[in-house]
Symmetry: C2
Subunit: 300 residues, 2 copies
């Protein structure tokens, strides 16, 4: 049985590791949280005392961590994973991190003879549990072919994309989530104008879905409470996808825009919107809560 070393068993990593186990991979796991680790062991993983120990002897190393600094601390340096792996080992980092750090990791991996890819995901906890994540992969075509084999145990094969060269997965992820924030805010504004002018949000949503306003927020994540069964709006804006995470992703997108001199005005303003929501103490609510602020503040 081929073995994946799984580093980072959080809300996303935990269910992803279980899907690897369910699909016939052996998993050696590491997480700083003992409860997360014992949960994975309960599902059939073998616990390791460190990331580097988990990686030792693994066919593939997979990480799912909060930010670039965590990935660097796991992978780089004398005690890091890269320097302890046989040449040619495949290392996949599915964390959402800044593209510059991802590129730095690619360079370091190449120096160590490691086959590295940045493979951030889309779809959230529900898709992680269902094994239907999308993966956006940056790196070589050869690494992508190898990566697909393990990623399809956690994702929807049709949504495993080779986004481009080193770091391209992170670029695609950040740009996509920036676009998501923008059309969510636009959808909220359009619904707020409609409701303030006597339209039923369900009817208006149906019209816009059938027209040129159509977008993912309307299709599967309607921000008006009660329009769509199962959407966070109907559950008092419990996530779903937290404002804190959207604010983080927008920060990464804006950083990319600035580094490459793209004037992403709407992206920047979306970033400001989500920072304001964080400042208002709504960081752990769902990102569609921008609807509430638009309606509340104006009595619509």
């Amino acid at each position: 049985m081929p073995t994946v070393a799984f580093i980072g068993l959080g809300n996303m990593g935990g269910p992803m590791a279980k899907n690897l186990l369910n699909n016939g991979w052996a998993v050696t796991a590491f997480d700083l949280s003992e409860s997360a680790l014992s949960d994975a062991v309960g599902a059939g993983a073998v616990a390791a005392p460190s990331a580097t120990d988990a990686a030792s002897g693994a066919d593939v190393v997979f990480s799912m961590l909060p930010a670039g600094k965590h990935v660097k601390s796991v992978m780089l340096g004398d005690t890091g994973v890269f320097s302890h792996l046989p040449k040619g080992t495949l290392v996949l980092d599915a964390s959402t991190i800044d593209a510059a750090t991802a590129r730095e990791l690619h360079v370091a991996a190449r120096d160590s003879g490691i086959d590295f890819m940045d493979t951030p995901v889309s779809g959230g906890v529900a898709a992680a549990q269902a094994g239907t994540l999308a993966f956006m992969c940056g790196g070589t075509a050869e690494a992508f072919l190898r990566a697909k084999d393990v990623l399809k145990a956690m994702g929807n094969e049709e949504k495993i994309f080779h986004a481009g060269p080193d770091g391209a997965g992170q670029v695609a992820k950040a740009a996509n989530n920036m676009l998501l924030a923008i059309h969510m805010i636009g959808t909220c504004e359009a619904l707020a104008i409609g409701a303030a002018n006597g339209l039923d949000p369900s009817v208006q949503s149906a019209i816009m879905k059938a027209s040129s306003g159509n977008n993912w927020s309307l299709q599967v994540y309607n921000p008006w409470p009660g329009v769509m069964d199962g959407a966070p709006a109907g559950n008092d804006y419990k996530p779903g996808f937290m404002v804190d995470l959207m604010a983080k992703d927008l920060g990464l997108a804006i950083e990319l825009a600035e580094q490459s001199s793209v004037d992403a005005d709407f992206g920047r303003r979306a970033s400001e919107v989500y920072q304001s929501l964080q400042a208002a103490g709504l960081g752990r609510d769902d990102f569609s809560i921008v609807m509430q602020s638009l309606v509340k503040s104006d009595g619509a």
Copy 2:
């Protein structure tokens, strides 16, 4: 044969009148332009010397005019259509106009015993020609039932919506097009960031279409030249849907937002973007040309 009086035979009205003729309606037509009028006569319409003459004896009166002032001048006053029609005649205005004027027309129609609806369209010239327009209708349920019968000769029956009470069609249209402008600008920013960071716009578009960034601009109107066959981007941004028209619609949306105290910040900024494009002499180009300005100005 039931007769429709068709007032306003422009880029949209001309093909719509032809679809009525093709679907078995008689059409008495009026337009200030003699060439537009003779074009309709060539397709089987009967020319009238004025809007009120066209309306005389018609079962349904239909108007497709540039702005609220034109509709008022046709419908209201002693020489207007409303005062010359038998009580109970159905009058449909498919022009995109401000909701306040639409509501004023509803009041005047009611005073004259006319069954009025605001029925603005979505889909553009291509859908007008193909007879697949969407209609967003404001007014009573009774009027909507009668209207559907004539509208389906010009539109897709599944996209003929009763948006709500008086003016609701205009509200739905303005809000929808505001949302369209916002996700178009967001899509352009996301693609600009991707391209500046080494992504192939076709690959990035495929990824975002399969992810939470998905929206109508990506699905059917990709703004990056060459990504999508038939999109205006590949035809040097020839319309399509002109910047001038988008700027007009955004003006209507922002007016509505302000009248109802909704803080539509992204809508307002989208309006500024399209006004800037007009000021730059690009009013007659397609509204997806915002892509070009993002890439050009930054060398992405």
